[in-house]
């Protein structure tokens, strides 16, 4: 009923309406890009470690797997616990090479348990004791190398590329896998590893094994692999920060909307008085202002989704963070959230202006110049 009138009202001052929509769009774009990027990052890391493994051990209080340090004495006896099938220590970290400032190295003592989640697409597996390396498909292509070429990972520290793999995780596929001792050397870890991955034997429940390990090794932190990211403090901080930034952006957008509507209401004081004189109720005036606010915010949210997608696309493609294994994607859930947020923004933004407008006295408003 009020949509046509509201659209016409918004079109009366096209530039102001456009800038308000842009304000809303930028708030939504920030929300969309931060949320998408953070969830994208999470899913990449989750994919990288959770396939085929049930439990993961890291040092207590570590903010992330990269920051975790586990001494051999802390995980040596885990294999003796009943129900534990595979225990795989992993060293993981990034090194700087001649070709790239951020090259992910994963070190493992054995490749066999990893082969379910890591498909060798060309070449052969490496010998953990030899200076051999498997490169992810994306790394091989990005570094413009071939199988049987060598790659220098540290000064005069060359590795023979024996094969290439794909895991589905863009993070791992942009890195390399080497034998554990080589990774520990390259990452300067001494004897420490970052994580221990555990596969539970068939017929055993991960929850019970987790309890048994916790009892046995109270000094480490053990979690189910599916809970990894929610347990990583770094991600909790990143998520809180993302939420905070988004909230601030949305509050600013809301102020934009309130300001625009207030200006519009004051400019239309006389008009509102006339409408009241010819029989419009305060509720009808309120509805018109709410409709204007919702239209502004919904169009702003569509624009914001587009700007947000373009931003994460450019951000991912530019590789400025070194995290070029992330990719641009906008999930339907994120779009839905952005629309719900825009609606909320529209509703909240319209409350005060509509109260002001509906309280005008028609006799005074008509005289307003």
């Amino acid at each position: 009923m009020f949509d046509t009138l509201s659209v016409k009202n918004l079109l009366r001052n096209k530039i102001r309406s456009f800038f308000t929509m842009l304000g809303v769009a930028l708030g939504i774009a920030l929300f969309v890009s931060v949320t998408s990027y953070s969830s994208n990052l999470k899913s990449q890391l989750q994919d990288a470690v959770t396939k085929d493994f049930d439990l993961i051990i890291q040092s207590k209080g570590a903010s992330s797997p990269i920051a975790s340090r586990l001494m051999p004495s802390e995980y040596r006896n885990i294999g003796t616990i009943q129900g534990v099938n595979d225990v795989i220590p992993i060293a993981i970290g990034a090194i700087k090479t001649k070709q790239t400032p951020y090259f992910l190295i994963v070190g493992t003592s054995t490749l066999e348990p990893l082969l379910n989640s890591m498909s060798l697409i060309d070449g052969r597996l490496f010998h953990p004791d030899k200076k051999e390396i498997l490169l992810g498909r994306r790394a091989l292509s990005a570094l413009n190398l071939n199988i049987n070429d060598t790659i220098e990972l540290a000064e005069k520290d060359e590795f023979l590329i024996t094969g290439t793999f794909v895991t589905g995780s863009r993070l791992i596929d942009k890195g390399a896998v080497v034998g554990l001792p080589h990774a520990m050397h390259l990452l300067k870890r001494g004897e420490d590893v970052n994580l221990v991955l555990i596969r539970v034997a068939e017929g055993h429940k991960p929850g019970k094994i987790k309890t048994a390990i916790t009892r046995e090794l109270p000094s480490v932190s053990i979690m189910k692999t599916k809970d990894l990211l929610s347990e990583i403090r770094l991600f909790q901080v990143v998520e809180s920060f993302s939420l905070g930034i988004s909230a601030i952006a949305l509050i600013i957008s809301c102020i934009f909307v309130v300001n625009t509507l207030m200006m519009s209401v004051y400019e239309r004081t006389k008009e509102i008085g006339i409408l009241m004189a010819i029989g419009w109720s305060r509720w009808m005036i309120t509805k018109t202002i709410f409709a204007e606010s919702i239209i502004l915010c919904l169009i702003g949210s569509i624009l914001g989704d587009i700007i947000g997608y373009m931003f994460i696309y450019l951000f991912s493609a530019s590789g400025i963070t070194g995290l070029d294994w992330t990719y641009a994607s906008l999930s339907p859930a994120t779009i839905l959230h952005s629309i719900i947020l825009a609606l909320t923004l529209g509703l909240v933004g319209a409350v005060y202006p509509s109260i002001v407008a509906s309280r005008f006295s028609p006799a005074q408003a008509i005289r307003y110049e």
Binding site: K270, M276, A363
Partner: protein
């Protein structure tokens, strides 16, 4: 015209600035159904204040107004009452500049008629009656002053009101157009047994009405 009072006003007082200024000082009169009444008086005599009170867009400081035998407060919160009962013609047309003539006429109908097709049909009928059918999609700034005022009259008639309140309806148009507008309004009211109150400075207009009330310093001058 019959003898039933559509409006009865009893000792109406309207003060501003904490009673420092009285726009009306105790006005009493009644208007019969179908009567066309003109309200005359110099500027500041209280004509517009009285019209505001009669149209319920303002409330009296003291005194009562009765519509159809009921105290005006019975019609609170007034918007529905205004939409259904009163047609307002302002001195300046007060059409919304960003809406077409048709859309302007539809505005009062939003309060009581939800169907878009019905609203549109009624607006087209009214525009046709005031001779502006060909300009229904024009905007107010594209038509003459007289045409704007005719559109404002069509808007006032949108909901078939029983009472038309016109505050100097010819004040912004030339004499010839003004006479044409007044003739149209009086003819329409007489033909449909509607009551109309016109505030005017113009004796020629006042003479065309059934009765004249003179206001001076907020009082009826006998």
């Amino acid at each position: 015209m019959n003898n039933n009072s559509i409006i009865r006003v009893n000792n109406l007082v309207k003060s501003y600035n904490n009673e420092a200024l009285n726009a009306l000082n105790g006005v009493s009169f009644s208007i019969r159904t179908g009567e066309v009444l003109s309200l005359m008086g110099p500027s500041g005599s209280g004509k517009s204040t009285l019209l505001n009170l009669l149209s319920t867009i303002d409330v009296p400081t003291t005194g009562d107004i009765w519509f159809d035998g009921k105290k005006s407060t019975a019609y609170k919160p007034y918007d529905r009452f205004r939409a259904e009962t009163i047609g307002f013609v302002f001195q300046f047309h007060h059409l919304l500049s960003h809406l077409t003539l048709l859309e302007n006429i539809e505005l009062p109908m939003y309060s009581i008629e939800s169907g878009k097709a019905k609203r549109r049909k009624r607006a087209e009928f009214l525009l046709d009656k005031v001779g502006l059918a060909a300009k229904q999609h024009s905007f107010p700034n594209r038509i003459s002053g007289g045409e704007r005022q005719l559109t404002a009259i069509a808007r006032a008639l949108a909901n078939n009101p029983k009472l038309i309140i016109a505050d100097e309806p010819t004040g912004s148009v030339d004499t010839r157009t003004g006479a044409m507008i007044i003739d149209y309004l009086i003819h329409h009211c007489t033909a449909n047994n509607l009551t109309m109150i016109i505030a005017t400075h113009n004796n020629d207009i006042a003479k065309k009405t059934h009765r004249i009330i003179h206001l001076e310093n907020g009082l009826i001058k006998e």
